[in-house]
Amino acid sequence: LGSPLKTPGVNPDLASERLTASFSVEKLTARLDGGAEHTRMRRAIVEAIESDPAFSRENQYFQSQNERYEAAVRRAVHLQKKMREMGWTENGPEIKYIYRWLSGDIAFLLHRVFMRSISVLGSDKQVAKWIPLATEHQIIGSYAQTELGHGTYLQGLETTAVFDIATQEFLLNTPKISAMKWWPGDMGRSATHTVVFAQLYVHGKCYGVHPFIVQIRSLQDHSPRPGVTVGDIGPKMNFEHTDNGYLMLQNVRVPRENMLSRFCEVQPDGTYVRWGSQKINYFTMTTVRISILSDEVILPLMKACTIAIRYSAVRRQSKLKPGEQEAKILDYQTQQQKLLPQLAAAYAFHFINIYLHELFDRGYQEIQGRNFDSLPELHAFSSGFKAMVTQYCTSGVEICLRACGGHGYSLLSGLPSLYTRVLASCIYEGENTVLFLQTARFLIKCFMAASAGQPIPPSVTYLSSAKPGKCPAKDKLDFLSPDVYLKFFQFSRLLSSSAAKLQHLIQSGAEKHEAWNQCTVQLVKAAQAHCHYITVKIFVETVEKLDNKAGIQKVMKHLCDLFALHGIFSNAGDFLYDGYLSGAQMDLVTASYLDLLAVIRMDAVPLVDAFDFTDKSLNSALGSYDGQVYQRLYEWAQKSPTNQQVSPAYGKYLKPLLQNRLSKL
């Protein structure tokens, strides 16, 4: 924590990076935390958790799936105790820092989703009944939506819930193998209850997908309830600590009151009543999409940048000038080009995340007041940004991983587990391509409305602005002006040409769905371009509002410029097309972009220091604050079980092999 003075033994290669910072790291950290008092609170909580050996993650890279699961359950149980000791509560300000530090390596995360879905979708009576039980862990919940055969496309779910008037119960069934619930976390081994999403049938009529609270295991001996087949889905790329599960239901009965009924209800006589919008069931998901961004998606990128940039300041390889010491790999332009755009993106997404949260907090209040007007826009935002940020961060973490060469491949670098974790986010809570297309559908609607002179939501008004002529920039410095580069991202050509093509296809006789499918590749690009624009715009607006003291605004302006120019550099074809930018101007963009790399290089280590991760939270041999990379790697490797235990392989196979008694094997 804090300044290098407190930490003796910092590798001089890293210490020297910190002496030349152009801004105050402490002030930037406070800004990222939303104020110095938040920084203090966060550090106090981190300190309390890290000083408790029960939370140590040092051995996690050595553990099997079984050991990881058990450790996660143990930690979750210990956390309950700790929270009581410390006076922390589920609704207190501390909770986000606690979970952030734990990096999700704990059981019962889906238990929290279980509670959240009851709070949002349950009636007051249901909330009063279930939430206290769940809070006290008398029951452990999960959230069973995804099936073997269907994920993002919810209407396709096949589990059924048939209302039986005689007994006033719902009869739940898994009619075929593809209808088996598959993937829900905490369900494979831990959960006693789960919220099951199933097609509701009353009097033979299907009313679509609805949520039901189902008890799946005995509260006495934890064995599966009659009619329930439940288990773990087996090893995955990560999340070894989570018991993602499968669930098969055969004539499982739940009382009528177990259907979550804040927004709709089946009455005792079988009458189906609905209040409010059809889309409300999706609001939980919509908010979950945004709520995962910070801890599950952006944080891993920040950690990966911290590890890769610190390591690149310590690793020396080859010589830049004859006779000199070998150069830090961070001084190579190619290394800067890999890492610094990721760093800029991490900051860009931090700011867009704050913006989205403000937007959704407002939206949430409206919906609580049964005003659903903003739902389509919120839905488009949550889909598009979930897809964009997860995709970008995933590729960013992988770039960091590969930028660390061989040592990045060791689990002890921390990077493989960051990567395999963040990449899951591209799939859960909605597959990204599908989500981009949802955003595109919204954009096309708005575009059509704007063309017809109808009002459209403020976030998309740029769609109706006049087409820009030629870019006026003449010098490479001109491209450092937000007014200039924002215009680039405002371009709506991808969208307008998709709209035109859609119309053309329909007019020439194609059916609507076929026309849509024919345009989807381009529509995905249009949705990406929209999200990219909003991200740059919010970054620019954030920088403008920053305090000019302590050098923070200046360094953030550099990062904002880099984020924007990297976007243009990487999508050159889009901007050269139809001559908005000339070839000569594109060369200036490239030159300006490469110049920025060298400028930001000087602040690279302080910029990751400002994220203020503790060594224990990074859990990386390459990324620690003191930069003692090689020593740590060597010492840590010796603790590997492969070096602690005698492998039976020697006596059984190697020895006979070495002594050339092959035929006796």
Partner: protein, 636 residues
């Protein structure tokens, strides 16, 4: 299209039908158990290879890849590096001493080059071997933490010998890197020898069955005769005799890189097979209201993800075969001392190694993502393909460094052309630049009439792009040199441009080789489908890099539209053949190791069967319930 691939049937049948090679699904085993299984199978494999009299390197490779299902194994370095290095660098006397024991596996060796502090930049290695004429021994030392050998496969637990690369010091002078045979473990007990610290480097992203190791040496003495002395020598009095030619090692590097290009093709083919078969089995959502859910392979976005990768897998297959053939063709010349073709091949393979491994690495991930959630499960086989393949972006030369090696050759060729000489081979397009020099504009500003339905015309477009990017990088480099004093600094400040130039050059070479292959295919139906794939490969590459083609004036806006449109048309054309095209790769289910990619397409039932075997399901109620959950509920 089976005839495109070398026949691999017999070892497949030999191994897959052999009960000795069966074992539990690796996904359910711990790292130690996986190591143990791999050692068991390797021992058997060596025995059976001898039993069946299999000695041809290609056949051994296939046999091994079936035994280990394309996975690394602890004897890889012994078979792939230790034995060949003895053959090429040991004197006859040394071969007498080491080769037969190594062949009979009394000696198991590894190749210890990489250190903690240095990988691709070999000159930076720090291990020392100091000659002591008094005892006629070398004293080996790891003088710093960074000099500890780190990563060699088979070093951690398996080997009893290592070929160690160290800086040779004799008569007070450093003579650079040389190779030494170092015994590291006691024969009989397998305990580390005094002065040797050796162990496993711990868990990695993949390579679970490989005991990548570390090795630290403290004043460890070996006899003078243990330095590999076929080329360089140290005489008993310490006099150093220089090797005759240092380019010879290029040959080995070219060979290894050609293997990586082949691996890129194979790994990407496996991933495509899984993703495309699964996409034909998975039904999702609706295209048309009221109709059954379509196969996800019918969605344009899914085709756009997968078919260009399928085309890429075929392209890389042809590139790998080309390098291997070229290497074979010129290896005769090399033995006879004619090294004239080697520098270009060396430079080209560096770039192609990087280009193909980067592309395949990203492609495998794209395939996994295209399989949604189930792709994330180990049962899909895709996580495993990725973690096994991804280190090839780093080993045998870090990719960015490789790209810059190719760039160095390109700039050198450009400079030769600028000074009036002609260049030959794949870079001969640079000769056209001389005709352009009188005109002030970019090379490619001369009109190239591109016909987007004609692969040969697309080769020209890629050529023009490469020429323009090589020229731009060379000019930027010259401009930097005019501003600054240091050559290295100027090079560094141009390196992003230089990497782009290399990529464009490699891309051109691949499109060219793919196109050239078409005319060799005699079966008309096969040629037609390969032509579609070739067009897709070339056009998709353009649509992903439109900036380069627009900026250089190679394509107009209208043509870019046509390219994008034609890519989508090709997707629909390839769609009916997609499954057949991956079936042609002819991967056996056992080799594919994927529930999603099964030949019979019975995905969901088998996922359930697979999951039931998971270690967490060993008991109906997990022990954690009794240990943690129940006490908690009781207390709360």
């Amino acid at each position: 299209v089976r005839f495109l691939f070398s026949s691999a049937l017999s070892p497949e049948a030999l191994v897959i039908n052999d009960p000795d090679f069966q074992h539990e699904d690796l996904n359910f085993l711990s790292r130690s158990q996986r190591y143990e299984q791999a050692i068991r199978k390797s021992s058997l494999m060596v025995m059976k290879l001898r039993e069946h009299g299999i000695a041809d390197p290609d056949e051994i490779y296939w046999f091994k890849s079936f035994v280990h299902r394309g996975r690394p194994e602890p004897l890889d370095l012994h078979l792939g590096m230790f034995l060949p290095t003895l053959l090429t660098q040991a004197t006859p006397e040394q071969q007498d001493r080491f080769f037969m024991p190594a062949w009979n596996l009394e000696i198991i060796g590894t190749y210890a080059q990489t250190e903690m502090g240095h990988g691709t930049h070999l000159r930076g290695l720090e291990t020392t071997a100091t000659y002591d004429p008094a005892t006629q021994e070398f004293i080996l030392n790891s003088p710093t933490v960074t000099s500890i050998k780190w990563w060699p496969g088979g070093l951690g637990k398996t080997s009893n010998h290592a070929i160690v690369l160290a800086q040779l010091y004799t008569q007070g002078q450093c003579k650079g890197l040389h190779a030494f045979i170092v015994p590291i473990r006691q024969l009989g007990t397998h305990e580390p020898l005094p002065g040797i610290t050796v162990g496993d480097i711990g868990p990695k992203f993949g390579y679970d069955e490989m005991d990548n190791g570390y090795l630290k040496m403290d004043n460890f003495r070996i006899p003078r005769e243990n330095m590999l002395m076929k080329y360089a020598q140290v005489e008993p009095d310490g006099t150093y005799v220089k090797p005759l030619n240092d380019k010879l090692t290029y040959g080995t590097m070219v060979f290894i890189r050609s293997i990586i290009v082949g691996d890129s093709a194979r790994s990407l083919s496996r991933a495509c097979t899984i993703a495309i078969r699964y996409s034909a089995v998975r039904h999702q959502s609706e295209l048309k209201a009221g109709e059954p859910e379509p196969q996800i392979l019918d969605y344009q976005t899914q085709q756009y993800k997968l078919f260009p990768l399928l085309a890429t897998a075929y392209a890389f297959h042809f590139v790998g075969a080309y390098i291997k053939d070229t290497y074979r063709r010129i290896s005769g010349d090399i033995i006879e001392g004619d090294l004239s073709e080697l520098p270009e091949l060396h430079a080209l393979t560096a770039g192609l190694k990087a280009f193909t491994s980067w592309t395949a690495n990203a492609g495998i991930e794209e395939c996994r993502m295209a399989c949604g959630g189930h792709g994330y499960s180990r049962c899909s086989g895709l996580p495993d393909i990725y973690v096994t393949f991804t280190p090839s972006c780093t080993y045998e030369g870090e990719n960015t460094v490789m790209m810059l090696q190719t760039a160095r050759f390109l700039v050198k060729s450009y400079t030769q052309v600028s000074s009036g000489q002609r260049v030959t081979g794949m870079v001969s397009y640079l000769n056209d630049l001389s005709r352009q020099r009188i005109q002030p504009q970019h090379v490619a500003a001369r009109p190239v009439t591109v016909r987007i339905n004609d692969p040969i015309s697309l080769v020209e477009a890629y050529k023009a792009r490469a020429a323009r990017l090589v020229e731009a990088a060379a000019k930027n480099l010259q401009a930097e040199l005019n501003h600054r004093k240091s050559k290295e600094d100027a090079w560094n400040r141009t390196s992003v441009d230089l990497v782009r130039a290399s990529e464009a050059h490699c891309h051109y070479v691949i499109v060219k080789l793919f196109t050239a292959k078409l005319s060799e295919i005699s079966n008309a139906a096969v040629r037609a489908v390969m032509t579609e794939l070739c067009l897709l490969y070339a056009l998709y590459g353009i649509s992903k890099n439109t900036g380069d083609f627009l900026q250089a004036g190679i394509l107009t806006d209208t043509q870019v539209n046509q390219v994008n449109q034609h890519v989508k048309e090709l997707l629909a054309i390839i769609r009916p053949n997609a499954v057949a095209l991956v079936d042609s790769f002819d991967f056996h289910d056992v080799h594919l190791g994927s529930v999603l990619g099964r030949y019979d397409g019975n995905v969901y039932e088998n996922m359930f069967e697979w999951a039931k075997k998971s270690p967490l399901n060993k008991t109906e109620v997990h022990e954690s319930f009794h240990k943690h959950l129940k006490p908690m509920q009781a207390k709360l």
